[in-house]
Amino acid sequence: MPQAAVSETAASPDYRALIEPARVNSRLYYDPEIFQEELEKIWYRTWVYVGHTSEIPKKNDYVTKSIGPTPVLMVRDKDGEVRLLLNKCPHRGNQLCAYQKGNRTSFTCPYHSWTFSTTGDLMGYALPEGYEGQSKAGLNLGKVPRIAIYRGFVFGSMAAEGPSLEEHLGGAKAALDQLLDNSPTGELDLSAGFLQHRTKANWKFMLENETDGYHPGFVHGSVFQVTSSGIGSLYGADSTALTRDYGNGHTEFDLRPEWRRHDKPLQWFGTTAERLPDYVSAMNAAYGEERARQIMIDGSPHIMIFPNLFIAEIQIFVLQPVAVDETIQHVTAVQFKDAPDINRRLRQQTMGSVGPAGLLLADDTEMYERNHRGAKIRDPEWLVLSRGLHRERVDENGFLVAHSTDETPQRGIWRHYLNLMTEAR
């Protein structure tokens, strides 16, 4: 590759010279100019997961979320409609709301007391005689231009135009349905709060690792050694589990072939039907015994929805890039509406395995931070993503699949990334 491709003086790099089908240049992870360009071409353009409607169940509930580094207020307004408002007073730019969550009928800026409704409209300001004869038009809170909700999952796009959410999700939508099938009510209740894990690494190391099936046997070998977790065998040479590239940057581990081989309900969750009798009877009542049994064998999905929503069977992760070398991993337990016995176990396993002290994620995060420090070392500048090139194939739905340890997902992520970064606006 010509050295010009990694010259520090090039303002906007030639991404085609940095991304090849089976290897990528280290510069993509550490260059602050590339990060700025990603904000414009990915984070402030494509559909980004913001939050879940169950986090704001009542009218006038709000919670502070984000799109990339930008804070976003996710609000259920006085009429019950979900809105995504920008947390900036249009008067002098002051941060409007300083709290994580709450319930309020209006937002008042502490600086000059301008007050906004939960729909974002300017209701009034202090000492109004100073604005005599002036219109309030154009003085509302900024809004995320597009909002779309799929079964409670709220996505926002900073671009006024573009593909619909359905087009963006494509085949990955089936994984959200698979998750919700595991709820006896078909709904989630994500009300347990998020852990926030600060990570000194570029966000793409997380994006890629979420469906990297090559690492668990090594990074998490310590957990497999000291617990009776059956997860380790999913990532061995004999595993029938698959990696899948859904296109549009969405990737997954499909563990269903393994669970179907074992044919035991709830094995995916490391437990048995006998241990969760209330959950099992609610599932049988909701879906009928035959369908419920299949759902409980197949389990919950393991899917990374580009660029920031990772469903790890029993956890919901949201990736938030805040700088080229810093990412926040937000994580909470999957909680099914009205399913207390399984929810308790879901929380306990989540608290044990993920977050800053998690038996699993603390080691993943150690790898991310080492990845980032390593990327800055210039030689070799190319990082390799060739695993399984000879054995990937197209499945019955037209998506690329390969062995559970292959790098088919990572190649798919970079193919989509290249499209976004080189697409004409």
Partner: protein
């Protein structure tokens, strides 16, 4: 611990309320300093041996007064999970502690909050300096302890570590806090 075992332990143990306050304060402080030293020096077996069977080791998230039975905590271990955590550290493949964090903590503002038979509830402030591959991190916490006197020595029943910034993103917390 069964109810009977608890009764027997209480019978054989002193009623801590009969101790002079200065003596109790001294014994409590000595125990907290020892616990801090075992954690700082990664003496995993020594630290694990301090815990009773009904242990709760808890680092809440998003506030001090959350309900750990409904809300997410950074860490909420019973005795069994403390054991798993320690065994993982001892594999030598707990990568985030390989190499181990260099640690020094200061335990201060020790207050005896309540005495019940052979148990005492204690509050303290803790500052922990950590250095690892990523860099230097300063952790600040308000701790709540429950200690139980068994066979003339304190054991750790409950330790709640409320990081003062637990509503914000925090770095990996993989040493014994």
């Amino acid at each position: 611990m069964t109810a009977l075992a608890k009764d027997l332990a209480a019978m054989s143990a002193p009623d801590l309320a009969t101790l002079a306050p200065a003596v109790l304060q001294h014994q409590v402080a000595q125990f907290l300093y020892m616990e801090a030293r075992l954690a700082d020096s990664h003496d995993y077996d020594g630290w694990e041996a301090l815990w009773t069977d009904d242990a709760i080791y808890w680092v809440p998230a998003n506030g001090a007064d959350i309900d750990p039975e409904t809300q997410m905590s950074v860490l909420y271990d019973n005795r069994s999970r403390i054991g798993v955590r320690i065994r993982q550290l001892k594999t030598g493949r707990r990568h985030t502690q390989t190499p181990r964090s260099a640690l020094a903590r200061v335990v201060s503002n020790i207050e005896v909050a309540e005495v019940r038979d052979n148990e005492v509830d204690v509050r303290a402030n803790v500052l922990i300096y950590e250095d690892n591959l990523r860099g230097e991190t300063l952790w600040a916490a308000r701790n709540d302890y429950r200690l139980r006197m068994i066979d003339d020595a304190f054991r750790l029943v409950r330790k709640k570590i409320t990081l003062v910034n637990n509503h914000k993103p925090i770095f990996t917390l993989s040493f014994l806090v």
